[in-house]
Structure formats: C-alpha cells, structure tokens
Amino acid sequence: MFRFPAEGNSDVSLVLCGAAGQGVQTVEEILVDSLRKSGFNVFASREYMSRVRGGSNSTEIRVSSERVRAFVDRIDILLPLNGGIRANIRGRISQETLILGDAEEIRDELSDSGGTFVHVPLMEKGREAGGPVFTGVVAAGLISGLLGIPPEIPERLLREKFSSKSEGVVTSNLSALEKGMGLFRELETSGRVSVEVRGRGKASGEMMINGSDAVSLGALAGGCDLISSYPMSPATGVLTFMARHSRSHGVAVEQAEDEIAAINIALGASYGGARAMVSTSGGGLSLMSEGVSLAGITEIPLVLHIGQRPGPATGMATRTEQGDLNLAVFCGHGDIPRAVFAPGSMERAFRLTFEAFNLAAEFQVPVFILTDQYLLNSFYNVPPFEIKGLNVERHLVESGADYRRYEVTESGISPRSVPGLGKGLVGTDSHEHDEVGHVQEDFVLRPRMVDKRQRKRGGILERVFEPVISGPESYRNLVVTWGSMYHIVEEALQEARLDETAHLHFDQVFPLHPGTAGHLKKAERVIAVEGNATGQFADLIRRETGFLIEDRILWYSGLQVPVEKVAEKLIEMLR
C-alpha cells in the first residue's frame, strides 16, 4: 500500500505530464487553485518543450503542510495523460513512485520503469462525461480525491471557469470531476493508496503566484508607466501581464518590431518622464547592449527584466539557466554604472523589481532584474505582498530657465527634469557632452563627466542589498548562491543535514555588498552552486573580492537542478 507523504517527507510530489495542448495545463490550474484554497502549501513548477502541440510537458506539484518552494527530483505520484513520456520524467521514477495512468493510452510504456503502475480508466470516464476532452478533468477529480480536497472547491472553480459557456459544458465538466473522484474512491476501497497531508488551512489567504507575475506586480507597484518589448521566452509573461492590465492600470504597452526598437522606445519614454521597462531574455539583451550603453551616457533611468534561458544563441528556448550574468554586468561598450538584482523568491522578485524603479530613477542608470525560466514559471503560496511603507520616488524636478541636465555634482547625480516639466530646455546626448547636454570634444570636460558618472557607483553601493545568510552562525562551510538557486539550496541543506554549513545567498549580484569577502573568509570551504557552465558568479566574486571559490556545483542541463542533486553533491563534498 502506498502512503503519502512517504516516510521522512512532509510533502507529496505529484507530477503531471502530457502533450502540449492536451489539457495538462487545465488539470494543473484546477489542482493548484483547489489545493491552495484548501489551505495546503503548494509549489508548482512547469517545464515545457519549445513547440506548440505534441511533445511532452510536465508540471511538478508539491503539496505540503510546510512551506514548499523548490523543485525536487522525487516523484511520489506520476500522472501521465499521454504516452510518449520523456526520459527526463522516466529517469525520476523510483520504486516508491505510484503511476496512475490509463493503460488504454500509456500501454506498456512504463512497464519497466521501476514504479508501480495502477490503471485508472481516465479516458473511458472522460468519454462517459461527454468526450475525450474531459479526460483532464477526470484526472483532476482523481487527484482532488486523493489529496482530500473538499469537492466543493474544484466544483466552484469549474463553474467560474466555464461561466461564459453553455450549461451543458458546465454539467459535463462537473460530471467528469465527479467521475474522477469516483475513481479515487475505488482506489481507496481497494486499499492500495492512502494520502494524508496534515496542516491544511494556513495557506488559504495567501497569494499563489509565479515569478513572472511577481516581477510584473513589482513593476506596477514601482510606478511602471511603459513597457516596450519583443516577445521572447521566458520573459514574455511580464509583457502579457502588463498588456492585460494596461487599460485598468494605466500602463503603455508596446510589442516592438525588434529588441533594439524596444529599448529605444523605452529610453525615449523615460527621457520624456515615463517610468519605463523592457522584458527580454539573453538574446534580446545582446541586441539591447547598445541601448544599455546609451542609457549609460545619457543617464536615462531604465529597468530591464532579463528572463534567462540556456544559451548561447537560441540555446534551449523554453528551458532554464543562469548563464547571462556576465552579459548583464558587462553589456554595452564603455564604463557604465549599473545595478543587477537576481531575486531568489517571489517576495524578492516583487520587492526588488519595485526597488529597481526607484534605484534607476535616483541614480539615472540601468537596473537589471535577472530571473530565469524556472523562477518565472514556478508558483507557490506566499503571504500577500506588503506594500505599506513602500514609496514610488520619481526623482524629478521642475526645470528653471537655465536648467542644465548634466550639472556636475558631488554625488554624480544631476537633478533630473524632463521636457514640459518646468521652464527649461532638457537636452540629452549620446556623445560626451557638457552640462547642458551639447556635444563637446573637450579633453578636460571629458574626464570630468566620466568622473561624475562614475561617482554614482558610490551611491549605488550604499544602497546595495545585503546577501542573506542562513544556517549556523559560526560555520566551517559556506554555500554561495544567487537568483533562483535560493530555495533549492535551502532545502538541499535541510535534507543533507550537514554540520557547520551555512548558506550565503545574493539577491543583488552587482555591485557586490562590501561585506561579501568577510562572509567568505570566515569559512574554511566555500562552494558555489550555479546554473551555468563556468561559474559566472564565482568568477565575479573573485573579480570583486579576490576570493577564489574553487568548489563549484555547476548545472546546465536545461532543467533546474533538483534539491536532491544539490544535496547529494554537497554531501559528497562536505562529508
């Protein structure tokens, strides 16, 4: 008999998989929503192929009494909706895996997979409910039953979802759901499975949100007035979110002809006083490099959201990696002050995107938010974002008649006005320029202006966010991470139960917090965990602090590294 959570775990890891366009996403939506509304802690992470139909995509859903925020390898229950199950899923099936599948569809594909296959007649029940399209909802019903979700919750969701459709559609869906629950009751009666996740009730008032929406909310909260971008996975979600709320929330949204137009429209708008952003991936940022350089010399604020995916070039378009750190820190020609954030959680994605707009406005520099496909397409429940105490700082002044856009100041920051805000004329120039903004070939002015811009680095450094340290206060080993690796390593460390090992996580990767070297030097052994092939962050740390992190756990398969793999490697290295 299968009991979940299994011995030693507090969560159940359920994986749905199936062809694109075959309803996996519907099942996922109903389940995730129902689970959260039932008060479970839920984590869900999607991986999908770069194609529209067919193939095989999957979603991992972890259900727990504790908070869950990371991707694991382990599959407790696998629910394949279609055949053609891919190696990345097969390889995760163990003796402990219960596979609930319809033999009519899956046939003997998984017979030698090592898991226990239990036939559930999803398709037949779907047909009974009204046709093959309802198979997914049958599956949702089965799982709802399994996890003990009160039936009225998914029922209500289905009613809402199909409220605009005919009564017949609603009835068929409800019937499919009920048939799925019936399948569970049969399983239960047969005594083959039992699931009990305790602790329901706490998460029901929380937000269930993914990285893409967290970044978008942060941007809107930060006063974003305009986004112009070119669609590119995995960064398109932010553009889509903004488009959806464009009219209701007063934000201008443009899908440009290419990334170069996108950044230049954004810079033109920012020059005109809009709080502007772009959202793209590494390839788009490569194309925007010249625009970043323009932002550098013109001192026009700009927020760039970069959703990383494996490169070089097209790489793996719908997959994940942390391979664009070097590009974010160094793109554009010439010396350009900037800041780069890399949030490790939904809360930080929201908060740092919010902060990015203020920082960009205050220092008149480009500010990057580095996320990745994994973070953007993962969901979990979080307490509602706190907005009290946050202020949108526009950092604009009315210009006087003799306004000088590039007045040289001690901080390097020139009071910023925009056309139409005051009496003065506002000039901006991509050449080296004088205080008014006119091009000059003056070899005394040039270093003065360079120095003025470089002085802003000091101010940016004062605002830098501290890295987060967790684990024992006095540690011998220190694991260093950035961006989406945060929760993976947090959980891996819990699982690995390593003594004297702490975790130092960076949500801001450039500039580095001045305390960085101090933390590193306290450890006897430092290990970087990164999602790229060379250890870009470890190299950056060495550049900034001189500290060499020799031990690196580097992962670049295209999928996020699972908790267990990190734990395993850490144990190997540290025990």
């Binding site: 937000m207 909260a221 007063g250 005109g272 006083g273 925009v418």
Partner: protein
C-alpha cells in the same frame, strides 16, 4: 513668431560651408516659428551623422541618441507626453540604413512625429561611403567599383505602406521646404519628409545643380489623398517631383491607442502612482 527665437548663441556650427543642412535648419526654424511653437514645446530627436547634429545648433529640448534609432526614441517620447511637438532628424544612412527596420515599423505605428531625412545620398560624417540612396555606379573608398545595390526609394516604400504623410523636398528651396515641414508638423500622425540635400564634401554626383536640374514642383492638381497617383509620383524620376506626395487624414495615432491614456490624459511624467495601485491585483492572487 520670429524664427530667430530658435537661434542658439555662441555656437560653432560644424557643417561645411555650402552644405544643404544649413537650409534645412533654416526651414525647420521657420516652420516651427510659423506655427507659433516656442522651443519649450518642441523636442528634437536625432541619431548620428551630419544631419543628426542639428539639435546642437538650434534651440529646443533635444535627445541626440544612437545612430539609426531616433524615431524609436521619438515614439517613446510622444507616448510619455502628447503635448510636445516631436521631430526626428537624421541622414539617409541613419534613417534608411541602420534604422531601416524602425522606419518601416514606425510607419505602421503612426505616432504623431515628424521625420526629417536629410537625403544627401552619401554618408557624410564618416567621410563619403555609399548610403542606401546612393545611385548605382557611385564610387567611394569602399564602393571602389561603384555602388552595386539598387538605391532605396523611401518615398515609394512609405507610400506603398500607406504612411499617413509622405513628402519630398529639396534643401535648395527653403520656402517650399518650410511649407512642407509645416504641413508635416500639423499632420496628426507619422510624417516623412525626405529632403534632398547636397553634400558638398562627398557627393560630387548629386550636387546642388544636379538636384536643381532633377527635381520639379508637383503640379497643383496632384491630389495627395489619391494613393494610386501618389504611388506613381513616388516612383517617378529623375526628375523627381517635390511636394506632399501622399497624405491620409484621420488615422488614429499610436500614442492615443496606448492603454495609459484610456482613463487619464495626464502626461506620464506628472503621474503619481503609489504602490497601492496594485492592491486589487494582489487581492486577485489570493
């Protein structure tokens, strides 16, 4: 309004004596002053090139950006603040070469900006390479055997795309150029003014005399609202017709279509959103 209100004092205009750019600047100043627009209402955008230096030689707000990108910058500005008169200035290399993709797609978007292209059929600033509009056979230090590619006809492309205002002018005729620029500014939507401009330093083929000889005024009875005859005019030449070749009124502008103006006319720089703007959305995730 006297157009000298646009003069910038004490500056060293960097164009070669005899360059057509001087006359285009004069025409622009006259057009703006003629429309009673003070410099505080006008934002000049430009890229890189000789033509693109103009914002450093006259008054106005200005954004002298990258080579080839000024109409994108200008489009963003127009969204940020619809009260401003936005002009984007550049050369043929800037607008049709490096910036060719933005040219096409800005036509599609139709923001209310005026695009002046100083078409001297050569790269002036970088000392005489061929531009997209250089004639076949034109010899330069790079096109040593003469230009091979067919010249780009911006007017024909713009008309064939249904751009809402398309005109051709010649710097040598300041008065006509002034009138055309005025119309372009008044026109609500994207206006292209392709302006033939002799480059005395690097184009010894398409000289002042050549342009003079190879252009003529569009007859009074050309109807710029007639797409078919506009296209014929656009493809005509040499000699090339000068004047407003195509104009269609009433197409909505890009900026007016933006969601940010759906409920609120305030220019973006004057908005005062606070984070409470997302309260409803946060709730929707709960």
């Amino acid at each position: 309004m006297d157009h000298r209100i646009y003069d910038l004092e004490g500056i060293d205009v960097q164009w070669c004596p005899g360059c057509g750019d001087f006359q285009i600047m004069e025409a622009l100043k006259k057009a703006l002053a003629g429309l009673d627009l003070p410099p505080e209402r006008v934002v000049l955008f430009s890229g890189i090139g000789q033509a693109a230096k103009m914002p450093h030689f006259m008054k106005g707000h200005f954004f002298n950006g990258l080579h080839g990108r000024s109409i994108s910058n200008a489009t963003g500005m127009k969204v940020a603040n619809r009260d401003m008169t936005v002009i984007a200035i550049g050369g043929d290399g800037d607008m049709y070469g490096e910036g060719g993709n933005h040219f096409i797609h800005t036509i599609r978007r139709n923001p209310d900006i005026t695009n002046l292209v100083h078409n001297n059929m050569v790269y002036g600033l970088t000392k005489g390479q061929a531009s997209p509009t250089s004639p076949v056979g034109f010899k330069t230090s790079i096109q040593v055997d003469g230009v091979f590619s067919e010249p780009f006809n911006p007017v024909a492309v713009a008309v064939s795309m249904g751009a809402s205002f398309v005109a051709r002018a010649f710097s040598g005729n300041v008065e006509q150029t002034t009138e055309i620029i005025k119309k372009a500014i008044i026109h609500k939507g994207y206006s292209l003014v392709d302006i033939f401009q002799p480059c005395v330093s690097f184009n010894k083929v398409n000289t002042f005399a050549w342009f003079k000889k190879n252009t003529f005024d569009l007859s009074e009875d050309h109807d710029p609202s007639d797409l078919k005859s506009a296209l014929e005019r656009a493809l005509e030449g040499p000699p090339y017709p000068l004047g407003v070749i195509y104009q269609t009124e009433g197409r909505p502008t890009f900026e007016d279509s933006m969601g940010c103006y759906h409920r609120d006319d305030t220019p973006l720089c004057r908005r005062a959103y606070g984070p409470e703007r997302v309260e409803d959305l946060i709730a929707s995730f709960q």
